[in-house]
């Protein structure tokens, strides 16, 4: 198979999974997510996403 992994989709999927778990914990009242947490959390997620997508891909042919 000659398919290329799309890192943006991979990172976005990971972000959705983490965000979904955080929102789920809030909905089940395991952990109370406060409104003023959202902006710093969004900045952290955005930063991680930028670093992850900008990381140079490993060349598997060598």
């Amino acid at each position: 198979m000659n398919q290329r992994l799309d890192r943006l989709s991979l990172v976005a999927g990971l972000v959705f999974v983490v965000a979904g778990i955080v929102f789920l914990l809030d909905a089940l009242e395991v952990w109370q997510l406060r409104g003023d947490y959202l902006v710093p959390l969004a900045l952290i997620v955005l930063g991680v996403a930028v670093v992850a997508t900008g990381w140079p891909a490993r060349d598997r042919r060598s």
Binding site: S9, A19, G20, D36
Partner: protein
């Protein structure tokens, strides 16, 4: 006469035997949300606050699984939309319940006995829950009221131990000489005698955007 070597024919695109798993999941999620919406419209309590995060996790897993097939534009858009809805719900303390059911305008409710009590709702406007004449029995009596956008005023009866759990997504909560302003406000206050009193009243008051206010004589 010269002959040129034939170039190898390009490889045919891989044959797809069916829709991608990610596509199936996206469709299934849309169907589930639609079914939930229909149930909700018919009065069935759908736990949206737990359903939507679970859907977001599923979308994330499908997006990661589909990453090997290329960019997943549709799933990423769906995941982003779900994330925005959930983030707004948290920021405004909107619990994704149908507050529209309460209507629009100005409402005054004056329950006298606990049998008159129910969960009071108003989508947009001013809701006043006047508990001044309420006969509070021994034990703990809970009164719940919710306004989507507007003002929620609760008038507490005299001589009853009181606890207020007030929340406003955007706006103000004022009760028992305390005041909270801004975004995602939560105010949990009680009178000094609340833990020892025989007759206790708990007010659970919510406003998405607006003001929650508790008045005492």
């Amino acid at each position: 006469m010269s002959t040129e070597p034939l170039e190898p024919a390009p490889a045919p695109p891989p044959t797809r035997h069916g829709p991608a798993a990610a596509t199936v999941l996206a469709g299934a999620l849309l169907v589930l949300v639609g079914v939930g919406w229909l149930l909700d419209a018919n009065g069935v309590a759908v736990p949206w606050r737990a359903v939507l995060p679970a859907a977001l996790v599923a979308v994330g897993l499908a997006t990661m699984a589909g990453a090997v097939r290329g960019r997943q534009h549709g799933l990423m858009a769906l995941g982003l939309a779900l994330t925005i809805v959930l983030a707004v719900a948290v920021a405004t303390d909107w619990d994704l319940e149908p507050t529209v059911a309460g209507g629009v305008g100005e409402r005054v409710r004056e329950p006298v006995t606990t049998a008159d009590l129910r969960e009071y709702r108003l989508a947009v406007g001013t809701l006043t829950v006047d508990l001044g004449g309420l006969q509070v029995p021994e034990g703990t009596t809970v009164v719940r009221a919710r306004v989507g956008i507007g003002e929620l005023v609760a008038r507490a009866p005299a001589g009853v131990a009181l606890r207020v759990d007030g929340r406003a997504g955007v706006g103000q909560v004022r009760a028992l000489d305390r005041d909270e302003n801004g975004l995602g406000n939560r105010l949990d206050a009680r009178t000094d005698d609340f833990d020892t009193a025989t007759r206790r009243l708990v007010l659970e008051l919510r406003a998405g955007i607006g003001e929650v206010r508790v008045e005492r004589p």
